[in-house]
Structure formats: C-alpha cells, structure tokens
C-alpha cells in the first residue's frame, strides 16, 4: 500500500484511478517479486498436471471422476492465491500485531487434532476433520505461526534499537514459543513436520543474530534428542521401518521398502525426457502409493524425465533464491527473520520430499511445496509467499 493522497484544492496530486494505482511505478503490484510469483505459478501449473496424471486412473480414490482431484487442487490453489493476495493487502506489519492471536489459534487447532476430532492417516493423527470430506492439517499453519511468533519476540528489542542482538532471555522465550506446538505435533506423531520445525527454529535463530552458543547448543540438543527418542523407543514401528528401508533399500521390496523402491523405479525409468505426460507406466499402473501428495515428484520424474523434474528443481530454486534475497534486503530484523524462516521451511521441505523419492532421505510424510495435492499445505505455502511479497513491498523505497 502506498500512501494515500487527497486532493483538496485540485492542485495536489490528482486522485488516481484504481488501474493507475495498480500500474504506477510505486504500486504494490509493480513492487512485487514477479520472478518468485511466476516461478510459483509455474510450479502450481505443473503440480496441477501431475496431480491430475496421478489421480485420473485411481478409481478407488477419485469416486469415478477422473477430474475429482484436479478440480479440488485448482480450487485450493485459487484459495491459496487469494490468501496470498490478502496477506499482501494486510501487510506483514499489520499482521505483526495479530501474531499472538494467530499463534494461539494454530496451537489450539493442533491440540484439537489429538481429540476425537482428529483423523488418522497413514499412522499419523495429523488431520482435523471438517466434515464434507474436507480436512485440514494444523501443522502446516504452525510452521507459519512459529516463524512469526519467534520473529516477533527475537526482533522486538533489536528493531526497537535497544540491543544489537537478542539476549538470552528472549531466546529462551522464543524457543518456548517453538517448543509448545512441536511437542503437540510430536504427539500426533507427525515426524516430518517436527523435522521441518527443527530446521526452521535453527534458521530463525541464525537469522536473528543470536549467540553462536544457542545455535550450536540447539544442534547438539537435537542430536541428543534424536538418540534419546530412538533409544527410548518413542518411535512407532512404521517410523523405524522407514529408516530401516532408507538404510537398506533392498530390504523387503514388497513391504517396508516398497514405497521407496517403486518411487525410484518410477523416477529412474523416466530417463532424460520422460515417458510423456499421462504415459508413465509406473504412474498409470499406480505402483507408487500417495503419488498425488507426498510422492508427486515421482510423476514428474517418470513422465517428464530429467528435463521436467529438473525444471521443478530450478523453479523451486528461483523461489528460494528470491526469498533469500528478500531476507537479505529487508529493513527490519523481524522481516529478515520471517523471510529466513520461510526460506528454511521451503528449502528443507522440498529437499526432504524430493530426497525421499530419490532415496537420499528417509521417508517422511511431507508435501512438496507448490506442487503436492493438499489444501492446508497449499494455503500455508501461498500465505508464506504473501508474507515474503509483503516484506518486499512494504520496504521503504529509496528516493
């Protein structure tokens, strides 16, 4: 939003038409990061096609309508883009005041998952049933609210000019803000989201300029925690199996290793140019489970080949690169932290999601940002894009 000008005497700046305001050199639209938007849109288009390809034959899922998933996906996408626009319109500064409320709501939603309102999918109780076949995954929103909440606390004194770096007390508070929802998500259990949150917390601490001791300490604590979780047997069997299958891909290719094995066959068999959209035998044959959500990248790998799958990597790279740039160029520590947190979120989630289909990461239930089918994830990703855009557009322009 640019400053409003009023003409009282006819000599001042003339009241501009809406179109003029949108296209003006200093308008919000003009100042948005269009590289990121175009890359995001391209990912959304490719994602829609891949979701369609993965689901048009799945009669047991799509209720006989080949476009069932496609239409829903596009609907979610449009809602997501609307949410982005709303976020830009509100502006991240105005949202800053609402962060405690948003944070509280998201944690409450997450807690609801643990009540009978929650739905269990693939061994993980991570969904809230809204009725009518709609579910939401509060963990996705928590990624945003944890970033915002921590950023608010950590940047408060620095942005006010009181200190150069956050003090220890603030860092402890910020970690507490992250720890509460992480504990709730751990109980679901949604290990993938916990992993993403750990990475987000690390990036937020780094970007906030907190003491190195905190960063190193957190890494150590994470390692010790992981060992403890393993030793105390807090993991479910399916989670242990996923790691076992990751460590040894040849293990039980019909059982625990089936997913990764079939995913790798799908991607590997795509070759350089792929088998052509809708022509993947692994995809049409439905050999890869969860192919429209967590394993959507296998469709790209098989049907579009190295060229198409590589393009997805490049587009993700463009989005993340521009987000990094926004983080570096932003004027307040708060917006820097928010941008850096989103960078870490997108980057790690994409790496984990694609990495597991390529067999270099263990399987964890995480969607591929911009591409995978799934409403909540789509909304969260586009809200995050809205935050980034708003950070960029609300930056004062040099005269």
């Amino acid at each position: 939003m640019s400053t409003r000008t009023f003409s009282l005497d006819g000599y001042g700046p003339r009241r501009r038409s809406a179109w003029d305001r949108l296209t003006a050199r200093d308008s919000v639209v003009w100042r948005m990061d269009w590289f990121m938007l175009l890359a995001g849109a391209a990912l959304a288009v490719v994602g829609s096609l891949l979701v369609y390809s993965a689901t048009r034959n799945r009669t047991e899922l799509n209720q006989g309508d080949p476009q069932y998933f496609l239409l829903r996906h596009v609907l979610y996408l449009l809602i997501g883009i609307g949410m982005m626009a709303g976020t830009v319109w509100l502006g991240h500064r105005r949202l800053r005041g609402a962060v405690p409320v948003l944070y509280g709501i998201s944690v409450l939603l997450a807690l609801c998952v643990l009540t009978p309102l929650g739905a269990t999918i693939n061994g993980s109780r991570a969904w809230l049933n809204l009725g009518g076949g709609f579910t939401i995954q509060p963990a996705e929103f928590i990624k945003i609210t944890v970033i915002l909440g921590m950023a608010m606390l950590l940047a408060a004194k620095v942005d006010a000019g009181d200190r150069e770096h956050p003090d220890h007390r603030t860092v402890v508070h910020a970690l507490g803000v992250a720890a509460l929802p992480m504990a709730v998500i751990m109980l679901m259990p949604d290990l993938g989201s916990v992993m993403v949150l750990v990475v987000i917390v690390l990036a937020v601490l780094l970007a906030s300029g907190s003491s190195n001791r905190w960063v190193l300490g957190l890494v150590l604590a994470g390692a010790v925690g992981a060992v403890l979780v393993w030793m105390l047997g807090l993991l479910d069997e399916y989670q242990i199996n996923r790691f076992a299958a990751f460590a040894n891909p040849a293990l039980d290719p019909a059982g625990v290793g089936y997913n990764t094995n079939q995913a790798r066959i799908a991607i590997g068999s795509g070759g350089l140019f792929g088998k052509g959209l809708f022509h993947g035998t692994q995809t049409t044959g439905q050999f890869v489970p969860e192919q429209q959500t967590d394993f959507v990248f296998t469709v790209a790998g098989e049907e579009l080949g190295f060229v198409g799958a590589g393009l997805i990597l490049v587009l993700l790279g463009v989005v993340i690169w521009r987000a990094c740039r926004i983080a570096r160029e932003s004027t307040s520590l708060y917006s820097t932290i928010v941008a850096a947190g989103i960078v870490a979120w997108f980057a790690f989630q994409a790496f984990e999601n694609i990495g597991m289909t390529l067999g270099i990461m263990p399987v964890a239930g995480l969607p591929l940002p911009f591409v995978s089918y799934g409403g909540t994830s789509m909304f969260a990703v586009w809200i995050a894009v809205g935050l980034l855009q708003s950070i960029r557009t609300q930056r004062p322009i040099a005269a």
Binding site: L206, P253, I267, L316, A398
Partner: protein
C-alpha cells in the same frame, strides 16, 4: 535495488543469511545431481525394472511335436483334455480358505472332498503325499480328464467356483498303434525343475515353469526340437494386476515332428514275440539249476542293414508310457523304479549288458584270419581242450574232426577257437606278455565297436566291456584289496582260493581268460544294439553305422524337412573275401548248423530270402544262461536276447523266426504271401507331408498286431537244443555280470520326481503374483498342466 537502506542489522546476521543461502542452494544442487544419477546415468536399468513391474506374461505353451513311425503313424502325440485346476491364492482369499469351494468341486467331479483337498495342499516336511510340490502360485491341476459336462458346470457357475478353472489343454499321449508300446525307445516327459529353468535361462531354448521335458528315449534326445518355443502374451497391468493394455507378444512356435524309422507294426510283432518267447522259456526246465528258466528280461532289435536305422526296438519288461502323462503318482513311480520292479524303465536294447556267448565267434573268426590263420584251413574240432591240466569242454560235446573256420562257426565248435586263442595268447608272451603284443582277439573286438557306445540316438546308452589287458589291470587295481582280504580271511573255501589267486595274479591275462573270451564267455559285456550293429555290418559289406531311430525332423508347417542321414562310425577290418566266407558260414548256421531247426529245417524259404544266423548261450555265474540269437537277411538284422532264458536258438529262435515271417510274409509252409508281408524292403522314403504340414499316416485296415499274433505258442520252443547247453568249466573265474543291471544315471532317477521338495518361487511383491494369477484366469489362456499329481 542498488542502494540498500541502512537496516541497522549486524554483519553477523548478514553473514549468516549468506550462509543459509549457500546451504539451501547446495541442497537443491544435491537433488539435481541425484536426479541426474538416477535418470540419465542409471535410467536404462530402471526402465527395465519398470517394464518388469507393469508387464505380466501369460504363457501359451507350444504344442509339442509328434513322434511318428516310418509310415507316418503317430506313436507319441497330443490330445486335448479338460484340465480342472485350482488357484491356491484365490482359495486363501476366501473366508474359509476355499473349503466350501473345494467341497463343491469334489461333488461336481465325483471325487471325495479329501482327495481334492490333498491334491491342492502344499508339500512340506510334515505333509505326506499326495500333495502339490510345484509353485504355490501356479494353478494346481485336480484332474486332467474332466468330462465336458463337468467343465460346463464349473464354468457356468463360476461364481460358485472362484479360483477354479476348467480349460482344455494339450496332454501328451502315447497311442500305441497296433499295440506297439515302444515305451523305452519313446521315453517320457516330466515337469521341468527349478534348477533346469535356472540353467537354461540364457540359452537358446529357455524353459518355462509349465514346461515338460523329455527325460528318456526319443523324447529326451530330440527334446529341443520337439518342444518348440512357447508363446508369451504380455499384458500391461497396474499394481493390482488389472489389465491396461497389451504389450508386444511372441506367438507360440509349435515343436517339430519327428519321423522315426520305427515301424509300429514290426515293433508290435517284435514286442509280442519277445514277450511270448520269454513266457515260453518260463515253462522250460533248466537242467543246470533244477528249476524253470526265469526269463526275467529280454531285448530285441530289428535294424536296416544298409543304414543302421532301427525298425523295431523292444525291451521287456515293459510299462505303459502313459503312466507319466499329467504327472506320475508316487505309487506308479515306485512300481517303475522300486527294487521289486525289475526296472522296466531300462531300455535293455541299449542298456542291458551280458556276455555275448557264441554270437561273439564272428569276432574270434575275424581275429584268427587277421592273425594269419586261413579261413579255409584245417582246424581240429576235438571234444575237449586241455591247457595246463585244465580241461575246456567243447560244449557241443562233439568232435567234428578237422574242419575249417566256416564250419566251426556253423557247428559253433568251441575247441577250434580255444586252440586259436591259446596259440595267440602264447605268441603274445603268455603270462609274461611281450611288449607290443598283438592281442588280435581283443583288438578285433574293439574294431568291431565293442567296449564303446554305438552312438544310437537314445540317451544313456552303455558301452559294455572288452576284457583286455588294460581292463584287467584296472579291474585288479580296483578290487585287489578286497580280494586279498578275502583270500586271507576266507580259510580253505573255494571262494577264498579264487580270491587269493586273483589277489596275486588278477592283473594278468591268463590262458583260461583268453580261451573263455574266444567263445564270448567271461568278462565280456555287450548290448543287443552293439551286436545288431556288428551283424548289420557283416551284412552290408563292413560298415558300422550309428544306429538311429530318428529319420527326419519335419517342422510343424511341413516346410522344413531335415533328414537324419545314416552316419558310419567304423568299418570292419575284413576283406571282401573274408566277409563272403563268413556270410556263407552264417548261412550254414541257418541251414544246417545250430539255428537250422528254426530256419532251414523249419520251412524257411532260404532260396528266396537268404538267412544268416548265429546262436549264443552266455554263462552267468549264479544265474541261468542268457539266450542270444543274431540273424540277418540282405536287408534286416535281428538280434534278440533273453536273460535267464536258456539257449540261443531254443529260447529266442521261434520269436526271431516269427518276426521274419511277419516282415516277409512267410507262411507256415515256407510260401511267401507278399500281401501279408509287413516290410519286405526297408522303408526308404518319408511319409507324405501335405501342404499344411500334416504328415499322412499310412494305416493298415486290419491291425497286423493281431494278424501276427502267434497262433500258438510254438511247441518246438520247448525242445532241447542238441549241443548248445553248456556249463561253465570249473576253475575259471566268472564275475557275476547278471541280467542287465540298471545303469547309473538318469534313467533310474527321473529328475522330476522330487518328493517333499519345495519349489517356491521367489519374485516380486505378492500383489504382483496374485495379479498374474488373476490375469491368467481372466484371459482364459490355455495352460499346459505341467504339474505332478499325486
């Protein structure tokens, strides 16, 4: 944005942001690298895997080629039978694990539910027969002779019979035309084993799990030709096995047909006559053992002289080759291979071993001639022959005075050969053999092809033995320890004395050995087919042919006809003159010698069809004598042998004569009725092959198997033969060569019978396997019932 406003941000944050950016971008690069590695570098490998993933194969087995006789009459072909199979996987899916379905099926098939259940249970260590020991994912045949009505019931009420199929399938059949069983020469099939599939995986003729493989006889020798190649229909399927499309498929290529030189009519007569002769011998009293002859085994070969082609090959005891069809039951298998079975699976024509007796004398005669003794010289045929205080009897117990070698053959005079063999033995150095000893008698046996395989186109032929010096030495080395021990421990018994003697000098060729050897007794072992090859060679001017049953391989469409040419493997080292002299002498045997009472003096039209013969009676320690009769005309050679059957002309004579009668149409009074003649001349050509590849069978209206049925068991078969019943001279060592011993090898242990062996397939996910089964059922493909039933 060139001028960044001052944010008041510390440089620490800036540096960290750059670090984050580098880290994040390197993560994406890692993904890109891995993507390249999977898709570009290893893409081919994964493409192959993906193909295997989504393509399921339905095997359409090739129709196995037929085996036909020389006139195109099928002796092994296929018939379509209704096979009812049960898919275990489908059964296990049902709530009661298929119990209700199997019970319904039993009712429809008229079997007891217990029998059906036993047939479809899997073999394991705890499950007794009957059980299924094929792949648990292969449909299990419950019966292969369902009636059309039963199959209809199963098909029409398919909702009552999930997982049950009733489909026509080609099943091997041995129709035995004219009653010619031909079992051992034909062989049999049994399902392929996992090891064989693995072994043949990368060869030109890989096996399919449902394949049956020839295990013996012609079925084995010509297996790769007969089998053809199975067709494979490839379907693209999804992960649940639902068919999504068809991939490129190979059509089944039916196997080639094999035309043999066998004549089913002659084969039938030969089998019948051999059997009759053995039965007759069992009524015959054996003076030497004080009981009737056992006649426990026999063999007969009818061979074309000028080609070595086999017209008939019989081996007794017989069995029904159809017992193998559709999988042999454990009980039947025991009947064919158990200790009490007398091993009917053996083809005694090529696997039966025995000393040849006097039919060996043609070789001794040849050796004598080669050693420089003139054929028409004068040799003393005394009634006995003494060497070193040991008396060797002339078993005819009759002296003929001075006779030539021809006459010695005619009257089968032993002493003439004793003397010649002894002289040669002495010439070669006696007990202290000279270097470069001539050993004519032994050399000649080798040159006649004894001691090695004839190369007949049947598997597991045995080579027999020529007991020459080398063999003696090897045999002694293998046995001396046992002999010496027995000689030491045995005290004064007769056996111990012999063992002691063997221990000391068993490696030596002793005079007695050579003397016995010269009349075909002792350690010599021959097969009937070897002797047939030798007598054929005497008839054809000296060429030893590889005996062959296969005459031509005809492709299923009839477009390719590959004749199997006769192959010689040697020549008799005899001059034309000697051959002619020998031939005349053998005619003499048939007209006035030891076989005359079966031919020349029994109305044989010798002026029209010249008959040559040689009788033999081989000694076997501890058993009754082996009867040998080797005969030939201008075109055919017939050799017959009966273990523990008596004398050559006595036991085998009438049977051989009857076979000749049938071949040439010789009537009771010696008249020749050409219309009744089955095969007065060898069948030179091939049966007519029509344009569509059908081989036309030339069938006779009335089965000669019946017409040639002996009207009466010839009484003269029980007559005693003058001068041909010998005993073993005392003091000569005899090794028990016994009746044809089961040779080592696969003939005895058909590889397919693997009780209790679990041949589970390893493979992809269970879903894919189930998918294949579901698919195979849906597609209604014909499947070859390869499984063993029990």
């Amino acid at each position: 944005m060139s001028n960044i406003p001052e944010t008041g941000r510390s440089s620490r944050v800036t540096i960290r942001l750059v670090a984050i950016q580098i880290l994040v971008m390197s993560l994406l690069l890692t993904l890109g690298g891995r993507l390249w590695y999977l898709q570009v570098r290893n893409g081919d490998e994964y493409q192959k895997e993906a193909k295997g993933n989504h393509v399921q194969q339905v095997v359409d087995p090739a129709v196995r080629g037929s085996i036909l006789d020389a006139r195109g009459v099928p002796i092994a072909d296929n018939e379509t039978r209704l096979v009812v199979s049960v898919s275990r996987t489908e059964m296990m899916k049902q709530d009661d694990e298929g119990k209700a379905v199997l019970e319904r099926l039993a009712r429809v098939l008229g079997m007891s539910p217990k029998t059906v259940k036993e047939k479809v249970r899997l073999c394991d260590a705890k499950t007794p027969q009957p059980c299924w020991n094929g792949s648990p994912y292969q449909p299990i045949p419950v019966t292969d002779d369902a009636k059309p009505q039963q199959a209809m019931q199963i098909r029409e009420r398919s909702e009552d019979f999930p997982g049950v199929t009733a489909e026509p399938a080609a099943v091997r059949r041995y129709p035995a035309p004219y009653g010619a069983n031909t079992a051992q020469a034909l062989g049999y099939l049994s399902p392929v084993t996992d090891e064989e599939i693995e072994k043949a995986k990368d060869t030109d003729s890989p096996f399919l799990p449902a394949d049956e493989v020839g295990r013996s006889g012609l079925e084995r020798t010509y297996d790769s030709k007969l089998r053809g190649s199975a067709g494979v229909t490839r379907y693209e399927v999804d992960n649940l096995g639902r068919v999504m499309g068809r991939a490129d498929s190979d059509k089944a290529k039916p196997g080639d047909n094999l035309v043999t030189s066998l004549d089913s009519r002659v084969q039938a007569v030969t089998e019948k006559q051999l059997d009759q002769a053995m039965k007759a011998a069992r009524h015959e009293f054996d003076k030497n053992t004080g009981r009737n002859y056992k006649a426990d085994a026999g063999a007969a070969v009818v061979m074309e002289n000028k080609t070595g082609r086999v017209v008939a090959m019989a081996s007794n005891p017989e069995y029904d080759p159809n017992a193998w069809v559709g999988g042999i039951s454990g009980k039947e298998y025991a009947k064919l291979t158990g200790k009490k079975s007398n091993y009917p699976l053996l083809n005694r024509s090529i696997q039966g071993l025995s000393a040849p007796g006097s039919i060996f004398k043609v070789i001794s005669t040849s050796a004598a001639v080669k050693a420089g003794y003139p054929f028409d010289g004068n040799y003393d045929c005394s009634s006995s022959y003494e060497v070193g205080g040991q008396v060797f009897k002339n078993f005819e117990s009759k002296g003929y005075g001075n006779i030539d070698l021809g006459r010695a053959l005619e009257v089968s005079c032993d002493t003439v050969f004793y003397d010649l063999a002894y002289k040669e033995w002495k010439k070669d150095g006696g007990n202290m053999p000279k270097k470069g000893a001539k050993d004519w008698f032994y050399k000649m046996a080798h040159e006649f092809g004894l001691g090695k395989k004839t190369g007949v186109d049947l598997p597991n032929e045995v080579s027999g033995r020529v007991p020459d010096r080398r063999w003696k030495k090897e045999y002694w080395e293998a046995n001396k320890d046992a002999w010496c021990k027995q000689g030491k421990d045995g005290g004064d018994s007769y056996a111990a004395k012999i063992a002691k003697e063997n221990c000391v000098s068993g490696m030596k060729m002793r005079a007695g050995d050579s003397i016995n050897y010269s009349i075909g007794q002792g350690d010599t072992l021959v097969t009937p087919v070897q002797m047939a090859t030798i007598y054929s060679a005497l008839a054809n001017g000296g060429t030893l042919y590889d005996p062959t049953l296969g005459k031509a391989i005809v492709s299923a469409d009839g477009k390719s006809v590959k004749e199997i040419e006769p192959q010689p493997h040697g020549r008799l080292p005899l001059s034309k003159k000697t051959l002619a002299q020998m031939d005349k002498a053998l005619q003499g045997v048939a007209t006035r010698g030891s076989a005359a009472w079966r031919f020349g003096q029994a109305g044989w039209p010798q002026d029209k069809i010249k008959m040559r013969a040689k009788t033999g009676t081989a000694e076997v320690a501890g058993k009754q004598t082996t009867s040998w009769l080797a005969t030939y005309t201008d075109d055919f050679t017939i050799v017959m042998t009966i273990s523990q059957g008596g004398t050559g002309s006595g036991a085998s004579g009438p049977a051989v004569r009857k076979i000749y009668d049938a071949l040439y149409g010789v009537g009771g009074g010696g008249g020749i009725d050409k219309k009744k003649a089955l095969l007065p001349k060898p069948e030179a050509g091939l049966p007519k092959i029509s344009k569509d590849g059908n081989i036309e069978a030339q069938l006779d209206k009335d089965s000669p198997g019946d017409s040639a049925k002996p009207k009466d068991v010839p009484e003269d078969a029980t007559q005693d033969v003058p001068g041909d019943g010998r005993r073993q001279p005392p003091g000569t060592r005899r090794e028990d060569e016994g009746p044809p011993q089961p040779p080592q090898g696969e003939a005895q242990q058909p590889a397919a019978y693997r009780p209790g062996e679990d041949s589970r397939q390893t493979g992809r996910g269970a879903a894919a396997r189930n998918a294949f089964l579901a698919l195979a059922h849906d597609s209604g493909q014909r499947r070859y019932p390869g499984g063993e039933r029990r």
